[in-house]
Each structure stands twice: as structure tokens, then as C-alpha cells.
Amino acid sequence: MLHLWLLPAALIVAAVLVSIPLSKFAVWIMEGRYRPLPGFGWIERKIDSGPQDWKQYTAALLIFNVILFVWGYVVLALQPIMPLNPRQLGMLAPTTIFNSVASFMTNTNLQDYSGDVHFSNFSQIFFTISNQYISAAVGFCALAAIIRAFRGEKKVGNFFIDMWRVLIYMFVPAAILSGVLFIQQGMPMTFKSTIQVATLEPGAMGTDDKGVAKEQTIVFGPVAAMIPIKQIGTNGGGFFGANSAHPYENPSAWTNFITCFDMMMFPFTLVLMFGRMLRKMRHAIVIYGVMLTLMIGMIAWSIYFELKPNPGLTAHPPSVTYKIPSATAKGGFRELTIPQVAGLPIEQHLGNLEGKELRFGTVAGPTFAALTTAVTCGAVNCAHDSLNPLTGLSPMVGMWLNCVFGGKGVGMINLLLFLIIGVFIAGQMVGRSPEYLGRKVGAREVKLAVIALLVHPLMILGPTGLFAATSWGTKAEFNPAAHGFSEVMYQFSSASANNGSGFEGLGDTWGFNANPTPAPTSRQLDIAAGLVMLFSRYLPIVAPIAMAAFLGMKKEAPYGLGTMRDDTMTFYWLLLGTIVIIGALLFLPVAFLGPVADHLGPMPFGG
């Protein structure tokens, strides 16, 4: 079984190895040391609005996103009258459009629709692909601005130029390269929309009213154009409903490997870019180490639990009786007996196969689940809802922490928030006013970090509580009890972490506006998750930029013996401890109520 760990190990090694030169390249581009391609110099001069201070940079970023929102809404709303729509798909429900637009512009890609069912190729290209490129670059730019602010620069760059650089010199080449590999492995690249085939066994698809054998309608399209940027930009919004589990979206073990690698590539790189641009490589390596540790832990956790058989099908001896305190029952206790369950005769040595594809290999599912949430990609290659209960904890932890490499830029930014809190408290423990990067961390910086840090738990726990206690959530739950609760909680964790994966059993799809039977509370879920995504995206970008700017304005003190070093093993433990403890304090109760209760409770839970 040991060889099964090779796939995740190879992935991590590959991502680490590539991130080293790629980070050099990224610095080269972001520092503007490259020579523009012919003709592109003119464009750069056109879009350049001159050096911006942090306020101007943030304003430009927000204004650009407002336009992105309008663009997305218009493209989706006009789907019925746009070209490349041979299936004549109609307009989506307005709340679904709002949700999707918010989702894609915030790099979340939480899909309350199903790509193969609801999107025309025009929408896939001009809505999905454009958003996947642009929203990914926004986080990247925000990090670049933060780094420059940390360096003490008053002018933190130009947002439009940064966007251009990231999109044209980094994302497009990487996407083309991946795209070619993907096509070779079987990913469709066509502008057609469907193909009809008569199945080999006629009538196996069923027959229509007249007894004629039904054909299989296969949806495809420019899949190979979308998937590379979906992964590279850690977007995760799939071309198909089944996302990366779909054979067209992920045709082989190789594409699965590249898919995983693609989503890790830039998040890994950006940590090193942070170090290179600040000339604090050792510090960056310590951060990198902390992230790697957490990531390996999460992967190992999910593989360990997912290689166990699906507990819903195995035997559960013997019966257990619990005494539940009750004021109304006789003796003050109510007895609850969990019956013994006999196992079904299934050979489960490959672990829990429900919701998994065979072609990726045995551990690809849990590995992907841990990775996709750690780097806030949100693509899935197996059904997260069907993961073993405790396996499901791993992706949740990834989203709760939201800084284990995280999305491009924002993951690193989120880590900075934990780091500032950790440095602030521990910095005092060495008997000095806390400082980061040689600059004193004062009340203002702490305030900004805390505001950004508070948004995430507030946006997860608040709506989860609201939906869990009301029919808004309970009506949408597909699975029973604690697992149903997990579905709601996962949804808001995913939205707030700008992740986009889901316990997809949750009934959140309205579908086309004309749909007579939408999921009963899909409207509430659309709006709530949409708002959560917006809040959890922009506040944690703006506040850290301001924090970095204020910190950068301060005088830089040199390192001394009395200064807390940020490039040692001690700092590693400090940072790791801060993340784990704060993360645990925030989310232990919901972890108990969700996956842990699911795991420990009766299996199966009721009828």
C-alpha cells in the first residue's frame, strides 16, 4: 500500500521543483524587468495610469471588479440570444446569475448551476473563461501590491499593468501549455455543443413513447480551453456538472496529475515570490514549510480515512445504548439504542469508491479533495458529499484555514493575517514591542488584520447557523442529520473561502428561469452565498493592503539578537501553532457537529 503515497508525493515534489524557477520568472515579470512582446509595449503604455499609492491601487482594483460584475451579468443574462448556443438554452434564474457572477468574479466558482446542463459555449467562453483568467489575476496583483507596500514603497505599482502582466505573461502561456497536454490525453476542444450517438446496445438508454431506442446525447465543447485556466487560476468552476470527475474534463490519470499540478503551481510560486521580492527568502521558506506541513497533513488525513471502506455499507457491531438526560422521561434519562448492523458483501479494498472514478488511481480522490480546498481551487474529481465522514473534515479544514498556500495571492495574504496575530502575541514574549519585517506592529495594523480575519468565521458560522435552524437549510439538505448539517456548513465555508467545491447534495440549483420545480430554497442559498463570497473576497483583500501600507510606512529597524527572528524553526512552530490553534478555536464546534458527529453517530442514520 506504501506505493499509493507516491502520487501525492510526486505532486508535491513537482510543485516545489517548479515553483523555484517559476518564482524567479514571476519576480522578473512583476518587477517589470522583461521586454514587452512586439506591439504589447504600446498596449501597456495605453493602459498604464501611472504609479499608484495603496489607496489608488485598491480603488482601481475595486472599480475594475465592478466592471467585471457588470460584464458577467450581461453575458449570462443574454445567453438565449447569443451565438454558440445550438441547444437554445434559456436564461438562468436571476438569483442564480447573481450567485454565479459573484462566484466567478471572486474566484470562488461555487456553481449553483450545472455547466453541461445550463451553459452555452458562448457563456462558457465569455463568462467562465474570462472570469477565470481575470479574477485569478486580481488576487495575484493584490499580493504584489502588498509586497511592494511591505518594502516601504509609497507607490505600490499600477493595478492595470500588474493585471496585464499576470494575464499575458504568466497565465496565457501556462494555460496553452497545459491545454495542449490535455487535448492529447483526450479532452475535447471543439466549438460544437453536442453529439448524438446510438448506443452499442440499442434501447439500453430506454425507449421513448413510441418504443424507439433513445440515443445518448453527449455534451462537449471548448473544454480544453477552459480547464487549464480553471486549474491554473485555482478557479475550479467546471465545464461539466461533475467537474473534474467528468471523463471529458479529466480524461486520464495523467490529466489528473497535471490538473492537480496546475492548481498548485502558482500558489506554491507566490510564497517564494513573496520572499524574493522582499529579499527575505529564508522567511518565505519558513512560511512555505508551514504551508507544506499543513498540506501534507491534510492529504495524509484524507487518504488515511478514505482508504477505509464506506462505513454505510460495513458491519457495525455490537449495539450501543446511550442514556440521554431528559427532564420529561422517567428516571431523568431516555434510552437510545443503536442497533447492530450486518455488513454487505462488498470488496472495498480500494477504499470508499462511491463518487470516485477509477481512471485516476486509488488515492487520487482524497488527494485532490485535500489539495483543491487547500489552494482554494474548488474543482473536484470525486463527490465530496460521498467522502467518508472524517475524510470530509480535511477539505473543510482546508477552507477554514484558507491559507495553506491558498488561492493565488489571497492564500498568502490570509496567512499574513495569522502571521500578524502570531507575531503580535509572541513578539511580546521576547520582551519587545512586536515587529514584522523590522517594523513595529501597532494598534492600527492589528485592527486591520483582525477585521480581515473576523470576516471569514463570521461569514461561515453566521449563515450556517441561520440556515441550519430554518427550513432554508433543512429543506435543501440531501443527506440526513449531521451530514446534512455538513452540507450547509460546507456550502458557506466554500463560499467564504472563495473555494467553490461543495457537498453537492445540497439543493441549491434553480436552473433556468423557466424551471417550474426549482430546489425549494435555492433562491435563499443563491443570494446568501453570493453575498458571503463578495464580503469574504474584498474585505480580506482591502484590509491587508491597508495594513501592509501602514506597516510599510514605518521605520525599518535592523535585526538584532533581541529581535524575534522570522526565519527559524522556532518561528515555524510559532506560525504553525498560531494557525492550528486559531483555526481549531474557530471551527472545532462545527467540526464536532458536522463530520465528527457524522462519523460517531449511527450508520446509517435512520431510514
Partner: protein, 721 residues
């Protein structure tokens, strides 16, 4: 020509203090001194006023929680509705919540009481004393010290108490300053120079001085300092403000965690009703508001929230105990951040003055001859150097005759032109001592020859960082007296300690670079500034600050004032001039220049204590989760019992144990808050590792044991069913 005086040897300077003032060493009083605890308890209750609590958001939340729980107790008492928990549980919860607030108040009140006691004892020295005011030339009138005005001149004789702050304008006296400093050894105060300042309330032990009063009573410097200290206790420092922000944030975070637990528990209750197939609503502790309130109180950082104010006050208090009056808490805190300390060579690193350490004869002379002549030349020399020459001769077996000027001898005082001093003996011999160049010029003028040996001897002395003092007997050069700087005992260790804290020490001296380098090396300072002028000092501070470093310095002279003001921590000597004391942000009552080290340590300790207790407070929460969350869901999701790793007796005892632990840990940590976490001069990394292990890891583990213990005790005492 003056008459020859018989100068007492330094070793003979005997002082018999009359009616000694009890030294104020009692300052390090017991932590829980009964005279402080009583009022502090009373104060703790008075501080329950919401407008007082409001200033501490964490404890304010606890107080609201206690009130809320009280309302639930009333409701439970009035309504007959069946609940799975007895009303005694609510009462116990509420009791411990109130106790949590009271413990926090008590910690603050106790620290304040200690601070007040400290300033009170300082004030005690300010009582009225008779003063002898000089009126006109020689008329002396007795007035009360309270009637003195700035500018008045008073005469103070041995045994009298100096009636007010002032400067000696005439005379020299040994003064017992133990009333302020607690140091029983007397100090010399004399007119002119930097040691002319005297403080009201101190006692003259010998001689008679004329003091010009500089401050009216009640407005004396000390009075104003005490007022400042008292004010500073109430002010929050920048770090404290930032930390309160973090604590408020954690309070908010846990509010965000706990409030949604109610609907989430409801969700579990609803699906469990379905599972059990019952229609009556399940009532678990998860939807029980007082229990959720208890969880909130356990989670928010009450430990540090309760002790934060006390830690700050105690920091000031520790500075006071070290006889340092800090004008603001910020100054103490900044002291912890110091990167560079500027130390005056003289008085800090070396004993105040150069000592004669050797006689090196040249030519035909012997060391004994040189010694006798040198001593003879120094009889009338009242400079410390001169005195040590005499003393050295004495120590080397000289007789009193050696140092008694023969009748008819005439002293030649030091003049800037000749740069020599000496004595003209009745037999016409001119004995001179002075800088080698001056002596050579003197000898050559008299037609004498300079022995070849002299140059090498002088050079050798110079290269050792000592100062040569040549002695001539007429046209003959007798030899050279070696004047060396003597390092203060223990200075190297202290500087090493500084270095391990990460503080760089810089020696400031007027010496030439060569001498300075030697002393610097011997003492172990990191850097030195030789031939330093006050302007150079200021420039040096500015240069270091421009590099982002924080600089501390000690000064006493008026010309130090700009540098003291410029430095991030300016420690002025109480013996120094008024200008210096005004410019600095701390005053050292002991006038002990090495005190700066203690200030730095106190500053670091203050921050460390805050950091350590914050870490501890937050780390505690992990265990509390494992105690409370399974208890919350015992009534709905009994299988979560597995998470109850402490195997607590019952859900209610689990919650009570956590709340009790949370409350009790506050008084238990009061000593740590008041005394401060022990500071060790380690590098930052080692210090961090240590503190993370002790307070971080310890903070995670300890409550598991503590909560379990409380649970066991409650069960054993049948306090819980």
C-alpha cells in the same frame, strides 16, 4: 600662599549618621500584604460599576454574561417548566461568573493599591522640616520648609534635613539619600559641576552647605514626578492598546463562534427528534442560553483580560521598586525595545575617576622616591587623581611624613597654561607633576635632559589605555605615575547580559581613541565614541535612530539634556541638574548609571508577561472545548461523548468545572502578573522557544489536568449530582 591644610585621607572619612532614616527597602512588600488586600477586595466590588467595567471589553462581556445568567436564574425560579438541569446549576454558574469579574477587579485593584503604596511611601519624605534661610549676607532665619520659594538660599548643617530641592551653591557635604533611594551609603554632593543637585527630604551627614532652592514645596521635582507616575499608571501604553484590540477581537471571534451554536444545536435537536421518532422538543444544553454564555466566558481571553491592567501597573511598580521614576508607562515599555544604550564611561563603566595604579621611575630614581615626590606634589591637589596618588603612596608603605608638606612649602595650583601642579619646597626644589609634554617643557626650560627611557615608558602606558603623569624634581624627570581607569566591579557581566538581550552598548568618553579603545575592550562594550562632545552624542543618537534603532542613554549634566530628550529612553540621574531631569523620561533616584540595564529588563518583562499570559489564555481554550462541547450535546448527540477525553462526571459538572477553572486561574496568576514572567537574558529565539513551551504548550495541557481535578473535587465533595 595658603596655609598647608591637613587633608583627611579618603579612608579616614568617617561619617556617623545621626538618627538614621530607615531605608526604604520595604518596598518589595509581600504580594498579598493584608493592608493592601482588604481595600483591594472592597475596590473589586466597587469596580463592578458598568461604566468602570466598560473600559475592559473582555471583562465587560463577562459582567453582561453574569447579569444575563442572573436573569435566567430568576426565570428558572419563577417558572415551573421542567428542565433537564436543576436550578442550582444555574445559580452555581452565575456565582462563578460574578466571581470571575470580581477576581479580575481584584487583580487590578491590588496592583493599583501596590502602586499607590509605593508613591505614598515616596511622599512620606515630603513632610515639613525646619529650614534656615539666609537673609542678606549672613543673617539666618528659621522658617518652615513649606514657606520656601524658589531662589531662596538655605544653610544646611550636618544632621539636618535638606528642606527642598535645590542646588548646592557653596560647600561640599556627604548626604544620606536613603530616604529616596534606599541606598544607605552616603553620597558626596558639592557645588559646581554635575553633582550639585540635592533633593528635599534627604539628610546632610557631614559638613555644611548652602543650597539654592529651585522648587517650591509641593511643586518640587519629586512631587511632580510622583504625580506623573500616578497618572501614568492610568494611561494605557501603545502596546497595551494594541493588545486590548486583539483581545477584543478574540472576544468578537468567540461571540461569532458561540452565537451560531444555538441554531446549530437546534438543528441537531430537530433531526434527533426525527430519529427518535418523538414529537416533544428535545432540550439539550446546546440551546440552553446560560450554558452557551458559560462557554463564551470560558473561551474569551478572560485570563489576560483580567490581568492586563494589573500587568501594566505592576510594570510601573517594578520600575519604582528599582527606584526609577518613569514619567510614562510608554517609557517603561519602550525600554524593553532598546537596541542601543549609550553609557558614559566615567561613573558607569569605570569608577568615577582615574586612579594612580603604579609608579614607574626613570633614570636613577627608584619607585619609592618617585612615590614620595609624586605624593608630595599632590598634597594640595584636591582632584580625585591627586588624592589617589597620595593614597597609593600610603598603600605602598609611605609614612604620614611623606605626605606632609614641610613648613614654608608653597603649593602650585594647576593652571591651564602650565598644565602642571606641584609644590615648591622651602629648599627651593620645584616638584611638578603634569602631562609628559608639559613636564618635558618644564625640565628643558630649566636646562635638564629628558631621559631616553621616558618616551618609551609614556608610550607603553598610553598603549594600555592609561594616562601617564610625569613627575619632575627640578630639572630631573623622576618618573611617571600611571593613572588608570578602574572598571566598576561586575560591569563586564552586566554588559554581557545586555548583549545577550540583544542590546548593543556604546561607551561615550572624552578620552582619546586609543585610551577609549582599550577601556572598551576591557569592559566589553560593543562600540565607543571617543573625544565625545555633547553635540557628538546627540548626533550619534540621531544616526542610530535613523537606522531604526531605539536608543537609551543616561545623563546628568545640563549639556546632556538635548541628547536625553532625543533618546527614546532618557534616564536622568536624580543627582543631575534640573535640565537633565526635565529632558529625560525617567529619573533614577539612586543616580546609579548601570540602572539602565534594569530598566531594559523591566520593560522586556512587562511585554513578556503580557505576551505569555495572552498565549496562555488562548491556549487554554482547547481543553475547554473538549470539556464543554461534548457536554453541550450530551442531550442530543450522545456519541460525541468520545470527545470528552477528560471523562468528566456529567455534562453540568463538565461545564461548571471549565467555568471554575477559568475563574480560579485568574487569582492564581496574579503573582505572575505582579512579579512579571521571569526574564532571562537569552537571545530572542531561545526566549521565544522557552516561553512558547511554558505558556503555549503548558497553556494547552494544564487546563486538561485542572478541569479534571475540579471535576473530581466536586464529585468527591458531593457538590454535583
Amino acid at each position: 600662599m595658603e596655609a598647608v591644610k591637613n587633608i583627611p585621607m579618603p579612608s579616614e572619612l568617617k561619617i556617623t549618621p545621626q538618627a538614621p532614616v530607615p531605608p526604604r527597602r520595604s518596598r518589595a512588600r509581600a504580594l498579598f500584604a493584608p493592608e493592601l488586600v482588604g481595600p483591594a477586595i472592597k475596590e473589586a466590588f466597587l469596580m463592578l460599576r458598568p461604566d468602570v467595567q466598560w473600559r475592559n471589553p473582555v471583562m465587560f462581556v463577562v459582567e453582561i454574561s453574569a447579569v444575563l445568567t442572573f436573569l435566567f436564574v430568576i426565570q428558572a425560579a419563577l417558572s415551573q417548566s421542567a428542565s433537564q438541569v436543576p436550578i442550582t446549576y444555574f445559580i452555581a454558574l452565575d456565582f462563578w461568573l460574578w466571581l470571575t469579574v470580581l477576581f479580575a477587579n481584584f487583580a487590578t485593584a491590588l496592583a493599583e493599591a501596590r502602586g499607590r503604596a509605593q508613591t505614598e511611601s515616596l511622599r512620606k519624605t515630603r513632610k515639613d522640616t525646619p529650614a534656615y534661610r539666609l537673609k542678606g549676607k549672613d543673617i539666618i532665619e528659621e522658617v518652615s520648609s513649606a514657606d520656601l520659594k524658589p531662589g531662596d538660599r538655605v544653610a544646611v548643617e550636618a544632621g539636618q534635613i535638606i528642606p527642598g530641592d535645590g542646588e548646592i551653591i557653596e560647600g561640599l557635604a556627604s548626604v544620606d539619600e536613603s530616604a529616596i533611594t534606599g541606598e544607605s551609603a552616603p553620597v558626596i554632593r558639592e557645588s559646581g559641576g554635575d553633582r550639585s543637585g540635592v533633593t528635599g527630604g534627604t539628610r546632610v551627614l557631614s559638613d555644611r552647605i548652602i543650597v539654592k532652592i529651585t522648587a517650591a514645596t509641593g511643586e518640587s521635582f519629586l512631587d511632580r514626578m510622583i504625580a506623573l507616575v500616578e497618572g501614568a499608571v492610568r494611561q494605557r501604553t501603545p502596546n497595551e492598546i494594541a493588545l486590548s484590540l486583539v483581545l477584543t477581537a478574540f472576544t468578537l471571534i468567540f461571540l461569532i463562534v458561540v452565537v451560531p451554536l444555538w441554531p446549530m444545536s437546534l438543528n441537531a435537536e430537530i433531526y434527533m427528534m426525527g430519529y427518535l421518532g418523538i414529537t416533544e422538543p428535545l432540550k439539550s444544553l446546546g440551546t440552553d442560553v446560560p450554558t452557551l454564555v458559560a462557554l463564551l466566558v470560558c473561551l474569551i481571553p478572560t485570563t489576560i483580560g483580567a490581568l492586563l491592567a494589573a500587568i501594566g501597573i505592576a510594570g510601573m511598580d517594578r520600575a519604582l521598586q528599582a527606584n526609577i521614576l518613569a514619567k510614562s508607562g510608554k517609557a517603561v515599555e519602550t525600554a524593553g525595545d532598546i537596541d542601543v544604550v549609550l553609557l558614559d564611561k566615567t561613573g558607569t563603566i569605570t569608577m568615577g575617576n582615574r586612579h594612580a595604579t603604579d609608579f614607574l621611575p626613570v633614570g636613577k630614581y627608584t619607585a619609592a622616591q618617585l612615590g614620595r615626590l609624586a605624593a608630595l606634589a599632590s598634597i594640595a591637589d584636591e582632584t580625585p587623581e591627586g588624592k589617589t596618588i597620595v593614597k597609593l603612596q600610603f598603600d605602598r608603605g609611605g609614612t604620614p611624613a611623606d605626605v606632609t608638606a614641610p613648613n614654608g612649602a608653597a603649593f602650585v595650583a594647576f593652571s591651564a597654561q602650565t598644565r602642571m601642579s606641584g609644590i615648591d619646597l622651602p629648599d627651593g626644589r620645584q616638584i611638578r607633576k603634569g602631562a609628559p609634554e608639559a613636564i618635558i617643557r618644564f625640565v628643558e626650560r630649566l636646562g635638564g635632559t629628558v631621559p631616553a627611557q621616558l618616551e618609551s615608558t609614556v608610550e607603553a602606558i598610553g598603549s594600555q589605555g592609561a594616562t601617564p603623569l610625569a613627575v619632575a624634581d627640578g630639572a630631573d624627570i623622576v618618573g611617571v605615575v600611571v593613572l588608570s581607569d578602574i572598571l566598576k566591579t561586575g560591569i563586564s557581566e552586566r554588559l554581557e547580559r545586555l548583549r545577550r538581550m540583544g542590546v548593543r552598548s556604546v561607551m561615550i568618553t572624552g578620552d582619546n581613541p586609543l585610551t577609549a579603545a582599550t577601556i572598551a575592550k576591557k569592559a566589553g562594550v560593543d562600540d565607543f565614541v571617543a573625544q565625545c562632545t555633547p553635540e557628538a552624542k546627540l548626533a550619534y543618537i540621531r544616526k542610530e535612530q535613523a537606522d531604526g534603532k531605539l536608543v537609551a542613554m543616561i545623563g546628568d549634566g545640563t549639556n546632556d539634556a538635548p541628547a536625553l530628550a532625543q533618546a527614546d529612553v532618557g534616564l536622568a540621574m536624580n543627582s543631575g541638574t534640573q535640565a537633565a531631569k526635565e529632558a529625560g523620561n525617567m529619573v533614577d533616584l539612586d543616580s546609579n548609571p548601570t540602572k539602565l540595564l534594569e530598566v531594559v529588563e523591566i520593560g522586556k518583562q512587562l511585554l513578556m508577561t503580557r505576551g505569555a499570559l495572552t498565549t496562555f489564555s488562548i491556549a487554554n481554550d482547547v481543553a475547554k472545548y473538549f470539556a464543554i462541547v461534548p457536554a453541550l450535546f450530551a442531550g442530543t448527540l450522545p456519541w460525541l461523548k468520545v470527545m470528552d477525553v477528560m471523562h468528566l462526571h456529567s455534562p453540568t459538572s463538565a461545564i461548571l468545572s471549565a467555568v471554575i477553572f477559568n475563574a480560579i486561574v485568574i487569582p492564581l496568576l496574579i503573582p505572575v502578573a505582579l512579579r512579571g514572567v521571569r526574564y532571562r537574558p537569552l537571545g530572542a529565539d531561545a526566549l521565544l522557544r522557552r516561553n512558547l513551551l511554558v505558556w503555549g504548550l503548558g497553556g494547552v495541557i494544564l487546563p486538561f489536568a485542572g478541569i479534571k481535578l475540579i471535576d473530581m473535587i466536586m464529585v468527591a465533595a458531593h457538590l454535583i449530582s
